[in-house]
Amino acid sequence: MSNAFIAFQKNDDSRCIVEAILEDNPNAMVDDQPSMVKIDVPNRLVIKRETVEEKMGRSFDLQELQLHLITISGNLDETDDEFTLSWNS
């Protein structure tokens, strides 16, 4: 099984996004590196708008991820509510 992953620049917004990912992806693994953070999840990684909003305490458009993300791995699907990275293997 391959890992889907996403990496963010470290800042206050991405701290909340990472918290949301950890809540919605129980198998998530966090790799803390200088000024960036990378999260791996076996096979499928999902970011849910609702959870991010809860962590941030404000409304959040998933396209705002564009501002913080550094790299991704996996086939992407983005809707208004979910940002999903997955491998078909």
Binding site: S2, P34, Q66, I70, N75, T79
Partner: protein
């Protein structure tokens, strides 16, 4: 009249209305005349509307987020420069990695901007056209921001001001140049595999992620902000490359062998280009976060492996070169650094022998290779330098006809033997650095016999500063090559004893005392 507020459109609807819905099929002219380039490579497309950008990014959202990225980036740059950030990097050796980066990367970003502008015009479907247009604008942005982030260093340190002149002329910049020249002179689909897949997926994931994280670790906020800001666009670029590959494979089974050949070719070309990034990570960052080998395993072996497994459902197999790239990950960064160390008179950045601590770090990270093959060479050079005999190879290098790397990589399975291959074409002999580059050459010899190799061009009298008479009886080719390159003489030689080293030490002293 009842005014009912209409619900905001969903992402999918908005994307569809703002991209495909704004496009039309031409009727005055035939579509194949308007888009003449998408057929000659043999790729068969039946329905362009099947291509959708999974980010579903529309132009209006694109400008909104990109301008926000720019504002953040320039705020950080201003702060860093106003605070004399150049003196807060770990040590002055670090600045040399920026010199190498400046010469090798922004000019390639500009080539990418040109390439994607062409793709934005040539692709039949509205989905890829819009995504390529965005990528073209991104690449211009990277080109500009990278130069801006380094311009402050240029006020203080040597060897940075002629990078644009040097791009098409310097021997060691030819490998990157040839990568993009090869891609941009191919057809549009091959370009997408070359840049969208090999460059974005294989290369930039290492250059802009662990290397830039390392730059941050060394106190360079300018490189950090520009690198991560660029890489936030690359996530979109990788997606575009991956979507293009899936699109070709889904459209027609006949596309499979063509796509496979491109994946094989460009994975290898990307690997060769990475050797220099390996040396930047292992040798040029005074403080290191991970070795090139570890980065390679994370971003290429695992991540690339995941992609190839995913594409297996279409019949794609792991690139032929993959095994060799895994073997080479323990060698290439050392071979590259030693290669550059041996040419102190021919680069606008300094080289040096790693300190004993740094050599121990390398031994730990490369337990199978460093002590056995590379430490003895470096220690020998070190002893020679201390005896006043700093190694200086004054001869022109021999280069691979395909990747234009200098010949320095080993025979597969035998680290003590250098690897050479040759092909005969139209009665002439052409040299390549590996089986994979030889295969690329043999497949399209007419293309690669045109490669610009500065060692050859010098001997033909094509690398002289203006005013030199190449027909004069006492003409000596290459005698004035430094002037042809506009190489700043202060930037030559070993780091030890350099003007940069002295200035940095003096300025840092001033910054901490009255």
């Amino acid at each position: 009249m009842d005014m009912k507020a209409t619900k905001k459109l969903g992402l999918k609807e908005r994307y569809s209305l703002m991209t495909r819905d704004l496009a039309w099929d031409t009727t005055y002219q035939k579509m194949e005349d308007v888009f003449p380039q998408t057929t000659y490579e043999g790729i068969k497309i039946h329905d362009w509307d099947k291509w959708e950008d999974p980010f579903r990014l529309t132009m209006d959202a694109y400008w909104k987020y990109q301008s926000e990225k720019e504002r953040k980036l320039y705020a950080i740059l201003d702060g860093f420069n106003q605070n004399n950030g150049h003196l807060s990097v770990t040590d002055a050796r670090y600045i040399n990695v920026l010199k190498l980066f400046l010469g090798s990367t922004p000019p390639l970003e500009l080539m990418a901007a040109r390439g994607f502008s062409m793709m934005g015009r040539q692709m039949n479907g509205a989905g890829p056209r819009v995504a390529c247009q965005m990528q073209a604008v991104d690449e211009y942005r990277h080109f500009q921001t990278q130069i801006h982030s380094i311009s402050n260093y240029n006020k203080y340190y040597n060897g940075m001001d002629e990078f644009a002149h040097q791009q098409s002329r310097m021997w060691y910049l030819s490998d990157g140049k040839s990568f993009f020249d090869d891609a941009i002179t191919a057809g549009p689909f091959e370009f997408m595999v070359a840049i969208g897949f090999a460059f974005e997926y294989v290369l930039t994931n290492i250059l802009f992620v662990p290397f830039i994280s390392g730059a941050a670790y060394n106190g360079d906020m300018a490189a950090m902000t520009v690198g991560f800001s660029a890489q936030s666009d690359e996530a979109r670029h990788m997606t575009l490359g991956l979507e293009c590959i899936k699109f070709m494979l889904e459209q027609d089974p006949d596309n499979l062998p063509i796509v496979q050949r491109w994946i094989d070719k460009w994975t290898w070309r990307g690997t060769r280009k990475l050797a220099a990034v390996g040396m930047m990570m292992d040798y040029m960052l005074p403080k290191r976060i991970m070795s090139f080998k570890e980065a390679w395993e994370m971003y290429v072996e695992e991540n690339g492996g995941a992609l190839f497994k995913d594409l297996a459902r279409y019949g794609i197999t792991i690139p032929k070169c993959f095994g060799q790239t895994i073997e080479e990950k323990e060698h290439v960064s050392h071979q590259s650094w030693i290669g550059f160390y041996m040419k102190p008179g021919a680069t606008p950045f300094h080289t040096w022998i790693p300190t004993p601590d740094e050599m121990d770090w390398l031994s730990e990270k490369y337990p199978n290779t460093f002590d056995k093959y590379y430490r003895p060479v470096l220690e020998f050079f070190d002893a020679q330098e201390k005896a006043g005999n700093r190694f200086d190879n004054k001869t022109a290098p021999m280069n691979c006809q395909v990747c234009v790397s200098t010949m320095k990589f080993n025979e597969p399975g035998d680290p003590m033997e250098m690897c050479f291959r040759e092909s005969i074409y139209k009665g002439e002999k052409f040299h390549t650095c590996s089986d994979h580059c030889k295969e690329i050459f043999d497949n399209e010899p007419e293309k690669y016999i045109q490669t610009f190799i500065s060692s050859h061009q010098v001997l033909q009298g094509n690398c002289e500063p203006e005013g030199v008479d190449v027909n004069a009886p006492d003409f000596q080719p290459g005698k004035q090559i430094l002037d042809y390159w506009k190489l700043d003489k202060r930037a030559l030689g070993d780091f030890n004893g350099s003007e940069d080293q002295k200035n940095f030490a003096a300025w840092r002293e001033q910054a901490t005392k009255n």
